[in-house]
Amino acid sequence: MISQIFILSSKGDHLIYKDCILTTGLLVALFCLCLYLLILLQSHKGLHFIHVRQGGLYWVASTKTNPSPFTIIEFLNRLAALTKDYCGSLSEKSVRMNFALIYELLDEMVDFGYIQTTSTDILKNFIQTEAVSSKPFSLFDLSNVGLFGAETQQSKVAPSVAASRPIMSSRGEQNEIFVDVIERLSVVIGSKGVLMKADIQGEIRIKCFLPTCSEMRIGLNEELSIGKSQLKGYSSAVRVDECRFHQAVKLDEFDTFRILKVCPSQGEQTVMQYQLCDELPCAPPFQLFPSVEKDYVNRVLIFLKLRCDLPPKSTALNVSITVPVPKGSTSMSQELSSPDQTAELQPKNKALLWEIPRFPGGAQLSALFKVDVPGLSSASLLEVGPVSMSFELPKQTCTGLQIRFLRLSPTQTGLSQRWVRYVTHSDSYTIRI
């Protein structure tokens, strides 16, 4: 049972505060402190605070009883997701502008500290306030959407989330549905280029703007196999270790035809989660060939050759490479192969950051960094590494999971637009030197 709900800005200002049951005399400031220290759970005078960080804001619940932490955390995450659905985006500004709407939401979601409902289907009947969008919706926002593999217009893509606009907006009729396949890749590559760990966490997420929902059929690869036992003869099979579905998904055609049937409710929801462990169906997207040498007395030479092993037509975006450097590094000179790349030394983090905005598949880039370290010893070279990378791979799934078709049931009248997008994010991509 929840006693209070707050939404705090990153500076600790109260944006939203709802007192669910009678509580008085609280040191909320104390709570800000535990945020600062990133302690998930903080107790003060018999009141326990649990927080979640989403969109640069702190979503906090306090409770006097001893409830399930999973429930509270998932509820706060859901609250954040709903706020995003209703307000369009998650930021301090949008929460400030839509505070009346959020109070209204909270009022329907929680009564006397008990969660009543979080389903958009039910909530939409009660929510009357209209969202104030921080910027008017424009078609340019959609220009980065690749419709069934069409080339994107802009290189700067952040396709992890469907369009950022409120679902309940009355501005124009938007018969649109987005289906995103999002995979998070976590890889450790050993010093000799051996793949040591590879995990893929994937999900299929739907964002639906259709005012009335009809049944939707999502066809996945027919050769998709689940679990380790179902090994097929030919290697073309797409395999995942296990998958879990949203409880509203009907699976009667899944076993034979790999079709998911779902009636999406308005807003964003995850229909399927899957994971694949200890194995990558394709080569890891990046291979690094580093060499670290001591140059003059006080200088380290770091030569990095980075190869992108994606198919030639695809591209990795926003690639950033972090290389730890010896403590006390003062300055750095660099030789990069093209002008759009940047590199800087961050003495505070003892690291150098090399950023490549766009990295086509099959290409190979190299960079030479000369780092000045006063008082360099041979032991300092051991401090270089492991290298960590972050990137986005649009239009790419590492498991090979594809959506064959997306069909709304025939009763649906009027034209609706369906968008399918794929993206792979690097959750953690580490290469040891």
């Binding site: 944006l15 005399g25 040191l27 999973f70 976590s186 492991p386 040891r432």
Partner: protein
Amino acid sequence: MPYLGSEEVVKELRRALSNPNVQADRLRYKNYITKVIRYMTQGLDVSALFMDMVKASATVDIVQKKLVYLYMCTYASDKPDLALLAINTLRKDCADPNPMVRGLALRNMCNFRMPGMTEYIEQPIVAGLRDKASYVRRVAVLGCAKMHSLQPNTEIDGTIVNELYALLRDPDPVVVVNCLRALEEILKDEGGVVINKPIAHHLLNRMKDLDSWAQSEVLTFLLRYRPRSDDELFDILSLLDAFLLSSHAHVAVATLRLFLHLASAHPTVQADALLRTSAPLLATCGAASRELRFAGLCHVQQVMRSQPGLFGTHYKRFFCGYSEPSYIKFRKMEILVELVNDENVALVLEELRSYCTDVSPELAQAAIAAIGRIARTYSEKCLDILTGLLGLKQDHITSAVIQTFRDLVWFCPQSTAAVCQTVGACVDSPQDSEGKQALLWLLGEHGDQISSAPYVMEGYIDGLKTELSSAVKMELLTAAVKMFLCRPAETQDMLGRLLHYCIEEESDVCVRDRALLYYRLLQRGVEETRKVVTGPKSDPSMSVLTGRQEEPISEWDSTFNTLGPLAGCDLCPQTAATSAADQPSCRAENELLPGKVDTDVTLSSPDDAEEEISLSLGPPLSHETFEKMWLDLETLHRQTLGFPRPRAAPDTLQAALQLVKIQTLAFTPGDTVPWKAYIYTRSTETLILAELLQGDQQAPGSDESLVVSVKQQPVNQHAIRGFVSVLKSVLQTLNPIKSKN
């Protein structure tokens, strides 16, 4: 509140709200109401506008109604007489043909927190329980609980309880769950809602209709039910089987808890349930939400207490991602240490080795300590890694490695020879006091095996004058005496110098006393000294205690899926509230200072400072002003806080204090002894100055604990109490971070 000119704002808003032109324009009127709510959220007291807001509630616009109700609920307890005026409107709304309006009015009427409310809400609630709209019934059911909480000590109304039990058969799932919640609240004194066989089976059959929140809550309620026979038990378990693999982590975990609880007599069933839930648990450990990940990790740790092998093959899932926050990394390392076996030890060590050079010194030290733990079983491989780390010549790494060596030698004597060889070859020595103590302990205890030991120790004795930590000095004394016992010829001279210095020149009483003790012991003869000084050099039996042991599931299943595992201890709301008062070290040692005897300085216990106090930063003070005021004012309050100063980085401390609106003026850097900090803050029209002090010989009780001295202008004892309690909470919160490593 820090708002200046709040009266102006309220006056202006009132003028606007009572302006007939504004009232006529619906949009403008609503905008002003929104503005009032906005100020309310920011903490401004707008209760003076109650009358105007009550007027605004008579509208057909539902959004406006909702806003006004929100306002009324907040301020009803401050203005009970005015709130009564609103009740008529609300009661009228309770009979509105629109169920949404009915529900809204009923819910908000129940939220009014003022005495005498019961007589107004009872009748609408009873009517609401029989409403044909499920929305109103949901609200009415919880309304019963709210009504009870308004008058907690009155007799329980039997008819309402019966009605609620009957509503458990309601077709609407949320009404069913709300009934359980309401009954639980109302019958709290009688042990909560009774789950008998018909209710339990009814709930189990309804499980599929409930949403995930209700499911996990019902599963928790079902913990109370004991099946009569094994047949019934297995029927229940097979009904719930599908929920073990729910895509909602909270449902899966709640089901697992129920399984563990119900099948406590069937260990194989429990083991099977754990095996099947390992997949969802692992999935939460890799969830996109960091907080969920952390909760998952804590629960994995708990499961591992009974089934250490369950996650053995999945050890790679616990490798840290570089962008993860440190609290997750710490947990993952703890788990990795537990999961080590013959096959994966090489890979795990390689992974841990890569964390040792992390930017964060805390994380690096924790990784080194983790390798040390593994070294108790796989000493050879780990020693190679640790020795390699010494080559990095980084202060914090060297210190952590030496400390790990000390622990390792203690737990696992067979590694002594290798450790001594490494320590002997190690050229640079740790710089912080913890590391120095560890090195000195090793030198003293195993000086016979480290050939260079006397020379290293001589360096410390020569640098004694610049040594600040008394703990290091004491360790040095002990180590030197022990070394003298095994290598008298090389040590005699320096031991003499050391004792001479400590007895003649040292100002710390403890160090001096220790030196005198050794001096007199040595006077009694070497054999006598040996008998006293030398103890066991290692204690391998301890590693059996710290090693993994399978605990029965019943040890932990009562705290599973509660906040306990996250807090790292068994956390009970009742004990958590009182524990601070129970600790003798927390006792406030108040001194009534001369000249101020007449003021009331007594604190009965630190915990009764419940009163709200608001601190604010205000304009900054210059160093000169502070110094002048500090010298002019008298100390009003002095208290020993009962814990040492936080070891957090200076900017962490400063930022943490700033968050609770305490400004740091200056503090001494690093490990300097005595450690001092000057801070100030403002509270209701008073300025509070304070000094934190540790390790000063003049101040009694400051060796081990922080002492805070407070000065204030003008005097306000209430503010001081509040300030000290805030300060204490902050510093205590900062402390455990270090002790965990």
